[in-house]
Amino acid sequence: MSIEIRHLTHCYSEGSALRTVALDDVSLTIHDGDFLGIIGHTGSGKSTLVQHLNGLLKPTSGQVLINGEDLNGEHVNRKALRQKIGLVFQYPEYQLFEETVAKDIAFGPKNQGLSAAEIDERVRFALSCVHLEYDEVAEKSPFELSGGQMRRVAIAGVIAMRPEVLILDEPTAGLDPRGRDSILTMLEELHGQQNTTIVMVSHSMDDMARLATRLLVLSEGKVVADGTPREIFSREKQMVSIGLGVPAAAQLCSRLIAAGYDLPSDLYRPEELREHLLRLWKEARPC
């Protein structure tokens, strides 16, 4: 499945004095199997962009094509297209409402009109994806769970709809290191094992360095860079100039190169960098 965004522009409060351009001529193709990271400042248009991907917002101009079909076209089965794209909002635990975890996760599949047996299978599948034991949590009230567990239940509620593309807006915001790690591991598995295409909005360069296969950098509603993490993180100056940073390992790497050390210029993962540093030390030992 492919998602293609063509010259997408979105303005809030169109036609009034408060008109603001949130997205300005954005074009982008999301390929099958991508783990696309979207980074940018608050107000750079990230959230606006992801809300267009499943039709919650309509473009002021431009198109969102899903498998070649215009999501906002006239004779399109919008509901069917939307189901292929799961959207997890920021702080998704605030949308939980059912008496039990199982019922809450079943909300999406139920709206899809599935049979009871299918729904049950989906709930079990979704819970296993987010590393929660069905027997342990299914009959609990979602409000009894810890913050990190509630977030995972909320994400399971979207996974249960079996989207081909899963979009997450800052899935780790507000979590402690343990909660964050469990979400990231879960996403890594969904991407690797279930072959789900994932789009993740995040402020954390370290999370991006760990997971993303491709990065899209937004600034003031425009795409300023689109490429592999390796390409993007080696452009430290550009990233800093738009108020973003690069992972600590990439910073160290460029500082050491500037100091005259022989390192490849595009290291951004701590595991790569440490091997190179060890190599340098072994080579330099005689001196």
């Binding site: 343990r178 600590a248 390992a249 100091a259 050390y261 022989d262 440490r274």
Partner: protein, 285 residues
Amino acid sequence: MTDDVRVRLEDVSYTYEEAKKPALSHVDAVVHPGEFLAVLGHNGSGKSTLAKLLNALYIPTEGTVLVCGYDTRKEELVWEIRRRAGMIFQNPDNQIVATVVKEDVAFGLENLGVPTEEMIPRVESSLAAVRMNKYADSAPHMLSGGQKQRVAIAGILAMEPAIIIADEATAMLDPSGRAEVLDTIRRLNREKGITVVWITHFMEEAAQADRVIIVSEGELIASGAPDEIFDRVDFMRENHLDVPPMADLASWLREQGVPLKKGILTVDDMVKEVERVLCPSKSDT
């Protein structure tokens, strides 16, 4: 009265009603005047409970909490304690009371019965101290998360506190908002000598403190300078806490036999150390 410390916790335990296990058990700690103390711990470790004990929002089930020498168990001292130990909470939206910024800053002073003539300059200078004076007449819901937290700080500052307790004040903010709030608090700590108790799960923030204490499962398990604490990489991992990437890298290299010194936290520290133990490669020499 013990005037040499701002806060003294003596064998403090706290159990929530209906809870089986205590949220905090037998904690002993002191906070010194002018200190920037970070309290690090994962969610549910008891660190937020600790925060609320310092402001007499909770009264210890066992043990004694002394704030500026006042015992929090004495009900008649509650207002004396709360005006001296101001608290900032996690959710920026849920701690602003008034519909106009300057009126929110005045809220504490109004409660203390400060005369209006005295209130006006105190509100103005507090807003200036957090660099929010431009927004004195704005509506809070129009501000960014970081700005709202700065308004909350100004509201505390107006009461002229001896201590500011921040209970995960940056957890819901984006990176620029977090930097904005932490910088503001650090400046107040430096320039006005206000003691800070900074409760967080972000190790980057704890790394900037004078001293770090670690809370886990209701117990205080470590206390020390950031560079000492973060050098204990395995210990931190066991307690589900992050380690600064440079401390992690240094620890791995040390294990491989590279003679790096202890206490590397930042990229700067690392560059210096690499330059000390490693000559630049031969291609440049």
